[in-house]
Symmetry: C2
Subunit: 248 residues, 2 copies
DNA sequence: CGAGGGTTTGAAGTGCATCAAATAGTGTGG
DNA sequence: CCACACTATTTGATGCACTTCAAACCCTCG
């Protein structure tokens, strides 16, 4: 397996990908071209560490496909997962405001294709374009709200409720009829994403099944309506269902 | 007690306060004057609710003195405390990126003097001045890192460790000799700030005392060196002591 | 088929929450 | 200055949720 392969296609072609993420949605074509000017595509195998918390870094990334885990770890090796991201998510841009030091580590958890972009160019564009700065501010405010809710959840939701909330974020919450959910990655990884042990996850999922009407077959979960799931999961949440922005 | 008293002094005099907070430290005098143009000073008694999560809001605040609690609550009344702030802290500016809806509630926990400022003016200045936008981005990145660490702490630190970490944030971490710490507010409030019950706080503080060399007399805590406290509290933390920016 | 990782189940332990009650501390009016 | 009321804090007893350790099971893939 190749650890990293660069794509020879000219950078201008990569600008197209930038339009997929919220931060750059309103950029003008020439600005996108500048932002993408030194971009290149990278393929990474499962397990690859992109960078370590505390590292100096010059790049930020957009995920074209695959899954990436952001985490921090203590001296004794315990991991605290910051987030797990997939297609159309961006990461690493935070380093721009931390003296180019990344506040977390990043690891590929499913074989992934990434677009690597230079922080320097982003910095220049932000300094010159208040609209882009405002856009990034909005994105950061969103991160913050998401984190707020996560904190709230770990404090006041039970393990089964956190799982229910996690499941709700995997589907289109507007659908009213039957639904099918495919767990996007390992149950073990979901468990640590939710801050619990694999054993706890397994048992909590069983409890969730008993208390709602969902059915579980391996990594597939289905049910006849989201209502029961939502009322179970969201009863200990300050925001109401359906959750804005898929953050329960 | 008066619920709210406006100050008659012209707004230009208030610009001086803006220089105290990181966001505005580098602003030019005329920009500060514009930012402060509709500011006014408010005095609020303990218990006063400034605004409720979900409220439309037009103002942000700078605390001149006192203590303010930011929190969210669920349908059943459980509170999740977002932060507790004092002099030289700013709050409420997040609403700018959330359609002027505040994502949390704010309550005065100790009689406070606040400077109330209009969001609209801040919005205008940011849109016109990339340097100010960058400054706000830096502030927001700081919030994010702080939250990240808080999340990590609630997940992997024990109650006594969280208290130790909280204490370390109250002192100048560079001092090497004996130290004295005064708890800034109610133990009950500290407990909920740290996401635990008052009873748990009391017991955890006792356990912390047993495992380190600190001495406790009411709201005063002292010891001969921070080392032992730090090595106890920070062993389950991804950042190392002394903690950058007083965030252990 | 057999090896190995992911997942589940069982049993026991730990830490925090909860309920209840005692104690300390603070401010009040007499 | 004292007694009282009220709140903050501590202590005790008990319960529950999650963790930990151990082992079984299952599923995939060579």
């Amino acid at each position: 397996m190749n650890l990293h392969s660069a794509d020879p296609v000219p950078s201008a072609n990569h600008a197209h990908y930038l339009g997929m993420i919220p931060l750059f949605r309103r950029c003008k074509p020439e600005q996108m071209a500048r932002l993408a000017q030194h971009a290149h595509i990278e393929h990474h195998p499962k397990g690859k560490i992109l960078f370590i918390s505390g590292d100096q870094t010059d790049s930020y990334f957009i995920i074209l496909n695959g899954w990436v885990k952001l985490f921090r770890e203590t001296l004794d090796g315990t991991q605290a997962i910051v987030d797990i991201l997939t297609s159309r998510h961006m990461f690493g841009e935070t380093a721009l405001f931390e003296d180019k030091i990344s506040p977390f580590s990043a690891e590929i958890v499913e074989q992934s294709t990434l677009l690597r972009l230079p922080l320097q160019v982003l910095e220049n564009e932000i300094a010159a374009d208040p609209a882009l700065a405002l856009s990034l501010l909005k994105v950061m405010a969103g991160y913050r709200r998401q984190q707020d809710q996560e904190l709230e959840h770990t404090k006041i939701q039970s393990a089964p409720q956190r799982i229910g909330c996690f499941l709700l974020r995997l589907v289109d919450q507007r659908i009213t009829g039957p639904f099918v959910i495919h767990l996007p990655y390992d149950k073990t990884l979901i468990a640590s994403r939710l801050g619990m042990q694999p054993e706890t996850f397994s048992r909590a999922l069983t409890r969730l099944k008993d208390q709602t009407d969902i059915r579980i077959k391996g990594a597939t979960i289905e049910g006849d309506s989201l209502d029961q799931l939502a009322s179970f999961a969201c009863s200990a949440c300050s925001s109401s269902f359906p959750c804005k922005d898929k953050n329960c």
